[in-house]
């Protein structure tokens, strides 16, 4: 299938054109402060109105633009990455369906079409994770699908409950029903659904496990679109959720997620898992700034993070391809000498992740940190934010040391080639966007700028923690023999941090066996046991026996007719006498 106009090119051009159209519409919508809502009324009776709507405002158009840009780049990149795959058509159709569900989620102001998009995302990400059909992928896919399913159940319950208020368009209810008890319950469920989708504690075991998917899937799904669907849902609901008690819990959990992912990424040696954990850390950041009430800052960070994280995954994919499908960073090294262009993209996206000034991540991340400094918080949250920023720098410098500076550890350097132009072209698009999108977005989105005023030391605290984190990262990855971090001291504590606070272990080994054996007992005793007796086979037997009995009367035996005559006479005489 090496024809010139394969399905990759067609879908790339289509998505790119759609993205450009969105760009122009979005600029127009931001400036004229316009919101368009297109509705089709399905049925309306008795104070319930069921409508199908599409909401186009600047937020949804902007998000759609970014999703389309990333997906078009990834599809184009994938043509070269999966060129040895025979079923490429199937894969691309799955990715396009994924993009369509994401778009459906973005533009919908009512809960039913959000459910369609949400469930579509969960299902298609399951199909994509199990794409390489071996047992490890099956397990990873099951973990992904079941964790997402909890969120789906929450949204289903919200649907049922929201019909109480007349329609499923939550957009209309946001400002008006803040003190209603049932609306509070609905918001708690929405928060739980977003926590499962965006992999906060305690549901965060699926995100590193889902790295069993092919790398294009990780670049598209697990960096920018699927995991941000939860954050997007909460941004839409942000007006409803102010001053709730559950928001404080969300703040704590997302702050802990930030820290946990940062710590665990420091102990990991699998390249894709490190990037997955860094995604998890940034998701925690987005959720926590959202729970403080600054929804537009969360949105801004979502967009810029999508840019450089997709680029990071693509560079990681190129590296894995070159290392003969090996993902261990201990086997890589010295790459800045051998593959300069790819390592350029990698370095720039890493630095954007840390918040190096004037790259894409700086505008969003620094603004978030300064705004939290300026607001009224308890000390623990402030500590979590700044410590996680330092940890981001820590694992980034460690990763760059392992990949770029330390020596090359694999067989031969012949494999390392940088001239795969298809992959490079799509990485260049994202590189350009990750350089300028920070500043471009910060001018466009913030119609009402944030004023930041703090003393010199407070403002420089970001730099202080980054430098400290960087220094720790450099110290840890020096390959000396006398290097304390490679010893087995404090084994339990290290295992606690490595295995993501034991969450994957606990959600698999802690729960599964009891639930599975309970369901086995239910199935064996009730489904295949007693209820086969009362319905199913037992009923079949009963009816068969009764029809056998009733066949006796039809055997044309004369004695039956005489007996039934006598019996009937007896019965009539009995009735006359009594």
């Amino acid at each position: 299938m090496h024809q010139k106009f394969s399905i990759c090119f067609i879908s790339f051009f289509f998505l790119f054109f759609f993205m450009l159209m969105n760009l122009f519409m979005m600029i127009y919508f931001i400036i004229s402060n316009l919101t368009i809502m297109i509705e089709w009324e399905i049925i309306s009776f008795n104070s319930i109105s069921i409508v199908m709507s599409i909401l186009l405002d600047w937020m949804s158009l902007l998000f759609m633009m970014f999703v389309l840009l990333i997906s078009s780049s990834v599809i184009y990149w994938k043509k070269s990455y999966m060129s040895s795959e025979i079923n490429l058509n199937r894969f691309i159709i799955l990715v396009i369906m994924f993009v369509l569900s994401m778009i459906l989620l973005i533009i919908s102001p009512n809960i039913i079409s959000i459910l369609l998009g949400w469930d579509g995302l969960g299902l298609i990400s399951y199909c994509l994770v199990i794409y390489y059909q071996n047992v490890k992928s099956y397990n990873a896919g099951m973990l992904t699908a079941l964790s997402n399913r909890i969120g789906d159940v929450m949204i289903l319950m919200v649907i049922a409950w929201m019909l109480n208020y007349g329609s499923w368009n939550y957009i209309y209810y946001l400002m008006f029903m803040k003190n209603d008890f049932f609306m509070n319950v609905i918001s708690i469920m929405i928060i739980l659904a977003a926590m499962t989708k965006s992999a906060q504690i305690p549901f965060s075991s699926w995100l590193p496990a889902a790295m069993a998917a092919p790398t294009p899937v990780s670049a598209l799904v697990h960096s920018s679109t699927l995991v941000t669907a939860g954050v997007y849902l909460l941004i839409r609901f942000n007006l409803l959720l102010e001053d709730m008690f559950m928001l404080k819990i969300l703040l704590l959990f997302s702050g802990l997620t930030m820290m946990m992912a940062g710590i665990s990424a420091n102990y990991e040696y699998d390249l894709k898992k490190i990037i997955a954990l860094s995604t998890l850390s940034q998701l925690g950041l987005m959720m926590s700034i959202l729970s403080m009430g600054y929804g537009d800052l969360a949105f801004f960070h979502l967009l810029t993070h999508a840019m450089f994280k997709a680029l990071l995954f693509m560079c990681a994919g190129v590296l894995i391809h070159m290392m003969n499908d090996n993902q261990d960073i201990r086997m890589m090294g010295g790459l800045s000498i051998f593959i300069p262009v790819t390592s350029l993209c990698f370095n720039i996206s890493n630095m954007a992740l840390c918040g190096i000034p004037f790259l894409a991540g700086f505008y969003s991340k620094d603004l978030i940190l300064e705004v939290t400094m300026m607001s009224n918080l308890n000390m623990m949250v402030l500590y979590l934010y700044y410590f996680s920023t330092g940890l981001t720098m820590f694992y980034t410098i460690r990763l760059m040391m392992y990949l770029m500076i330390n020596d090359f550890n694999l067989m031969s350097v012949y494999n390392l080639y940088d001239e795969d132009y298809i992959m490079l072209k799509s990485m260049m698009i994202l590189l350009f966007m990750s350089l300028i999108s920070g500043s471009m977005l910060s001018w466009m989105i913030f119609c009402y700028p944030y004023m930041i005023f703090m003393s010199l030391n407070m403002k420089l605290m970001v730099i202080y923690v980054s430098l400290m984190g960087g220094m720790m990262g450099w110290l840890v990855s020096k390959m000396n023999i006398y290097s304390v971090n490679k010893f087995l001291m404090m084994y339990n504590l290290n295992m606690f941090f490595t295995l993501m606070w034991f969450m994957p272990n606990l959600s698999v080994y802690g729960f599964n066996y009891y639930i599975l054996s309970f369901s086995k007992n239910l199935y064996k005793n009730i489904d295949m046991g007693w209820s086969e007796l009362f319905s199913g086979y037992g009923m079949f037997n009963l009816i068969k026996n009764y029809s056998l009995i009733s066949m006796i009367y039809q055997m044309n035996n004369f004695k039956i007719y005489l007996f039934s005559f006598v019996f009937w006479m007896l019965l009539i005489m009995l009735m006359i006498l009594v």
Binding site: N376, W443, M444
Partner: protein, 118 residues
């Protein structure tokens, strides 16, 4: 990090961030204080659809900024001067809030001292 625990010392007099001042505005001043003026008109703010929480004493700079953004789209970086003017005005407002806070704290400390003596 001297200013990090900025309002921490005011906890002794039960004063936290975003509290309203409780004393009479003229108390303790030997001169008469100048009132703040609201320059932007109410109907301008309403027709520009600025959200209520941004309709403070700096709103005239905000209106200039919005006008400049509308004229310069998509090259919005050309509005840096108006944005800087708005942020400066907000900065002055913030400093004034800090001064009010400090004044409130000192008045409360003085109150406690007077009550303690009496």
């Amino acid at each position: 990090m001297g200013n990090l625990l900025g309002s921490f010392n005011a906890r002794n007099v039960n004063l936290n961030m975003d509290d309203k001042p409780t004393f009479d505005p003229q108390e303790g001043f030997s001169y008469e204080r100048k009132p703040r003026e609201m320059i932007a008109k109410e109907e301008d703010l309403i027709s520009a659809r600025i959200p209520p929480k941004y309709r403070d004493y700096c709103a005239h700079h905000l209106l200039e900024y919005q006008v400049c953004r509308y004229k310069n789209v998509p090259l919005m970086y050309k509005c840096a001067h108006e944005k800087h003017a708005y942020l400066n005005c907000e900065h002055q407002d913030y400093v004034m809030r800090m001064k009010e806070f400090e004044r409130e704290r000192r008045l409360r400390v003085r109150e406690n001292r007077l009550i303690g003596v009496a």
